[in-house]
């Protein structure tokens, strides 16, 4: 039968000593090595950061346009607010994506909440890919795709949505 006399307080003391020793050794080895962690230089990953070795699923502008009217599909603009204001896919939502904004991850997840498919675009496919991968990582149940060619590709294909919510999007061949 487990009947401790004084061993638990003794174990607590020794556990504290071991943790302290480990902590001290950890700090010492980290300070000694060139590739150690520097808290001041550590950049917390945001949804804009790269997504390991995964491959983003692309979607062509025409296929994206066909999906645009569905209620469970959202088109997300991953560009800067300025670029968004200069012109964007009508009905698209702006994806908050700033490394200096600690709330951007939560805000981005709110954008995709309840959606089955999210189509992310930037000024190019490459620009939107890391954002899409990071979103996919944060929201694994959502089908995240990257718009091929980004906003320029959408424009050059002559596809546009009218202003207003996405379910009012229309397809046009001239802009």
């Amino acid at each position: 039968l487990f009947v401790p006399r004084r061993p638990i307080p003794d174990a607590i003391l020794r556990a504290t000593l071991l943790l302290s020793l480990g902590g001290a050794l950890g700090l010492a080895q980290n300070a000694a090595r060139k590739d150690g962690v520097r808290p001041s230089a550590f950049a917390q990953p945001v949804e804009c950061s790269g997504g390991d070795h995964a491959v983003a699923v692309e979607i062509s502008p025409s296929d994206a346009s066909a999906m645009c009217g569905k209620a469970d599909v959202v088109v997300a603009d991953a560009r800067t607010p300025q670029r968004f204001s200069e012109g964007h896919v009508a009905g698209a939502v702006h994806l908050p994506c700033h490394a200096d904004d600690p709330h951007s991850t939560a805000a981005s997840l709110e954008v995709v909440a309840g959606r089955r498919t999210v189509i992310v675009y930037g000024d190019s496919t490459a620009e939107a890919t890391p954002v899409a991968l990071a979103l996919q990582r944060r929201a694994p149940g959502v089908d995240v795709r990257v718009l091929s060619g980004g906003f320029p590709g959408w424009s050059q294909a002559g596809l546009a949505c009218a202003s207003g919510p996405c379910d009012s999007c229309v397809e046009t061949r001239s802009r």
């Binding site: 039968l1 401790p4 000593l17 943790l19 480990g22 902590g23 050794l25 917390q44």
Partner: protein
């Protein structure tokens, strides 16, 4: 028999933590990123990456080669550590975030319910080791080892 099982527990659990700590030391920045992916106080991730590997090595080594009283302390420390680890992976699974567990440094396996089950199993082993090592000497059937 019990002594032999506990010896295996000590060797397995202690060795595993020494291995995990050494693995994490290979890429401290990558490990810090893995910690921050849990989205639990990510500002503390670099400090966790600095402290955790060495703590795991010290606790694991003490469990394997320490005297009985030090083994009890190590087992208690590992119970605390595993409670934190299990809580972290459990919240990640419940929140549905798709991240690597970082259990053996950067690039480890993804967090799933299996990760939670593994941590619970290790917690049970550490708890058993703590109970055994913290018992009075006459109750263990052996002296200082």
């Amino acid at each position: 028999m019990i002594v032999a099982v506990m010896w295996l527990f000590r060797l397995g659990l202690g060795g595993l933590f020494v291995f995990a700590g050494v693995s994490k030391l290979r890429d401290p920045m990558g490990f810090a990123q893995e910690i921050s992916h849990y989205q639990l106080a990510p500002q503390l991730a670099p400090y966790g990456a600095m402290l955790l590997p060495a703590i795991e090595i010290v606790l694991g080594a003490a469990l394997v080669i320490g005297s009985r009283r030090w083994r009890a302390g190590a087992a208690l420390g590992l119970v605390g550590l595993l409670l934190v680890f299990t809580g972290a992976v459990l919240t990640a699974v419940v929140r549905g975030i798709n991240i690597d567990c970082g259990c053996f440094g950067a690039g480890a396996s993804p967090v799933t319910w299996w990760t939670v089950a593994r941590d619970v199993g290790l917690l049970a082993v550490a708890g058993t080791a703590l109970i055994f090592e913290a018992r009075p000497k006459e109750a263990t059937g052996g002296g200082e080892q």
